[in-house]
């Protein structure tokens, strides 16, 4: 349990003149939920994109199971057991729910030139996994582009959970979800963690983070503000850090606490 599944050291990422990450280090242990928090534009998505092979870091190193590695494509990261729900969901709008769910992992039957896509199985599994998350689909053939925002997000999560072997990265997975779906996703994270999978959870909701997180890392303007273990930090402190230390607009009492 002492070597992290994935460890990132001193990651920097520049886009032309923009410095999105200015040296961030981070690790995920097996069986933990590590929350990555921070203000809008802090660099959270950019960071996990370097972790899942979408971006190449400008400088910095990545270790998987203690071995240094470079991801040339998202497929490399996937082969290393990392599954990701990106903030933009990475779905093909014109394709069906099933085909999106299984994209890159299509189940096949037979072999050689006769090998074909087992759509029957694929449809059945998709319907079932979606139902587990609290979404009853009309039909697995519907184009993803015509789904509601939350339905679409649920497809992305269900897919990542289904295929996430060692690490599951969730970038604001519950942002568009209803209460029921949200509680299902949080419960799922808990279940997955118990199987020994490492989870990276990005959220702006302190309550969600506190509910499932084992460790908390806060980013601010491309740099780490530090990492805390569960119990070492209160919701209010965390919220302060996430807001970059700036004051919140005053509002009615009911919102005074954690947003």
């Amino acid at each position: 349990m002492s070597t992290p599944i994935v460890e990132m050291k001193n990651i920097e990422k520049h886009f032309g003149s923009v410095i999105a990450l200015a040296g961030v280090s981070f690790s995920v242990m097996p069986g933990e939920v590590h929350c990555l928090l921070g203000d809008n534009g802090a660099g959270k998505s950019t960071f996990i994109k370097t972790m899942s092979g979408v971006h190449k870091p400008s400088t910095g190193e990545i270790f998987v199971d203690g071995k240094k590695q470079a991801f040339d494509s998202p497929r490399d990261a996937m082969n290393a057991g990392i599954a990701t729900v990106h903030q933009d969901l990475a779905m093909i709008p014109l394709m069906s729910i099933t085909r999106n769910f299984w994209l890159g992992h299509e189940p096949t039957k037979n072999f050689g030139p006769l090998k074909y896509y087992d759509l029957k199985k694929a449809n059945a599994v998709t319907m079932e996994e979606m139902a587990k998350m609290g979404i009853r689909l009309r039909e697995p053939d519907q184009a993803v582009g015509t789904l509601s925002g939350g339905e679409r997000q649920t497809v992305a999560i269900a897919r990542a959970v289904y295929f996430g072997a060692k690490v599951l990265i969730l970038d604001e997975p519950t942002s568009a979800l209803g209460v029921r779906q949200t509680s299902n996703v949080l419960a799922t994270m808990d279940k997955v963690r118990k199987k020994g999978v490492g989870v990276v959870f990005i959220s702006h909701n302190v309550r969600h983070a506190m509910a499932v997180g084992d460790r908390f890392t806060v980013l601010n303007r491309g740099k780490t503000l530090g990492t805390a273990k569960k119990g070492e930090i209160t919701a209010e402190e965390l919220q302060d850090l996430m807001a970059g230390g700036q004051e919140l607009a005053s509002l009615e009492a009911s919102l005074g606490g954690t947003v």
């Binding site: 394709m95 994209l103 992992h105 096949t108 090998k115 896509y117 039909e139 053939d141």
Partner: protein, 368 residues
């Protein structure tokens, strides 16, 4: 995409007829256009157009175009174009002709060499597009010019100065492989039918149709295989995904670059197949072969419902699209319309076919 079963208990779903569910598929839309064109010619053309001989007659160019169109459709679904297809027909025609006539290779070797050259050129197109991120339009356009030019230079070199290379037919004679790539299939059957008066004959007693031209068989087979790949194989899903949103596909783990590479190679090989079929049929090749075919192939694919923006389309659509195009192209010969009006006629028929197909689809599926 194929499973039509519905949870019939869901109150959020209306009952809809099978036909309107089918009409949602891109290829079936093209059927409406085909029907319109057929009806038009049924009224205006010499009835011989729809005799067996007439049918095979317009199916031959439709098939040659269709083989290219299927390649173009797959590539378009995958989000790229290939404008060098027409020049590729000329270039691979030169390779094939030169292999047979100048280098006197046996037929099987010439065919292998031709496909290998085509695949290599397709790979070059693909690599440039993938590595540089330039639009495939401009890259393959450059190859449209380059390959056309190389065909000219190569023909002159192979023939010692002419732009026409002849004598392929003589070299081919007697090879059994040749029967797969030229002439007609099932010829004995048709002679037997003619002797027994089951098919029409010319005054000379020769059957009017002495077999099914091999290109029609290739075309049909290819349409079937491409459809199977698109709808039933995992590679098919990857094609749709690469064209639908290449960065989302790549983020989902689809090897987008590899998919596109294969598609460019496939398209080039379709061109090579057409080159071999037509060079063997004609017995010669020249520097203008395949001129503007890239364009016609894309037209047929688009009539068949493929989107230029990628991610949507079908091989069967391209199949019907090619038949529509071939029918309009040859159909005029069977009518009394003056050749001066040919282009007006061609344009109007294309427009009507797609408008009609679109109208029917919207009406049937209730979409607006």
């Amino acid at each position: 995409m194929s499973d039509l079963a519905v949870e019939s208990t869901d109150e959020r779903v209306k009952n809809v007829s099978l036909i309107s569910r089918l009409m949602k598929r891109p290829e079936l839309g093209a059927l409406a256009g085909l029907a319109l064109v057929t009806i038009f010619f049924a009224f205006t053309a010499d009835p011989k157009m729809f005799s067996l001989a007439g049918f095979l007659n317009f199916m031959t160019p439709a098939s040659q175009l269709g083989i290219l169109a299927i390649g173009a459709a797959l590539l378009m679904i995958g989000g790229e174009f290939d404008l060098s297809v027409g020049s590729m027909v000329a270039f691979t025609g030169l390779i094939f002709g030169a292999a047979m006539v100048t280098f006197e290779l046996p037929l099987y070797a010439a065919i292998i060499v031709t496909f290998m050259v085509a695949a290599a050129m397709g790979a070059v197109n693909g690599q440039i597009v993938i590595r540089t991120g330039l639009p495939s339009f401009i890259v393959t356009l450059a190859f449209l010019f380059i390959l056309r030019g190389l065909s000219l230079v190569g023909l002159k070199a192979a023939t010692g100065g002419s732009t026409q290379l002849r004598g392929v037919r003589e070299k081919v004679e007697g090879s059994w492989i040749a029967d797969f790539f030229s002439g007609e299939a099932f010829t004995p059957l048709f002679y037997w039918l003619a002797e027994n008066g089951l098919v029409d004959t010319f005054k000379s007693g020769k059957p009017k149709v002495d077999g099914i031209p091999v290109e029609i068989i290739w075309f049909t087979l290819l349409a079937g295989v491409a459809t199977w790949i698109l709808l039933r194989s995992r590679f098919g899903s990857w094609i749709f995904a690469s064209g639908g949103d290449s960065s989302a596909a790549s983020n989902s783990g689809v090897p987008v670059r590899r998919v596109k590479m294969y598609l460019f190679m496939f398209t080039a090989c379709c061109a090579a197949l057409v080159a071999i079929l037509t060079v063997m049929d004609a017995g010669s090749t020249d520097a203008r072969r395949g001129f503007q075919k890239e364009f016609e192939a894309i037209i047929a694919a688009v009539i068949g419902g493929s989107l230029l923006t990628g991610g949507y389309g079908s091989a069967i659509g391209a199949f019907f699209g090619s038949i529509i195009f071939g029918m309009v192209l040859i159909g005029l010969s069977y009518t009394n319309i003056d050749q001066d009006w040919y282009l007006v006629f061609l344009g109007s028929m294309l427009l009507l076919a797609v408008l009609f197909n679109n109208m029917i689809r919207k009406r049937v599926t209730g979409e607006r």
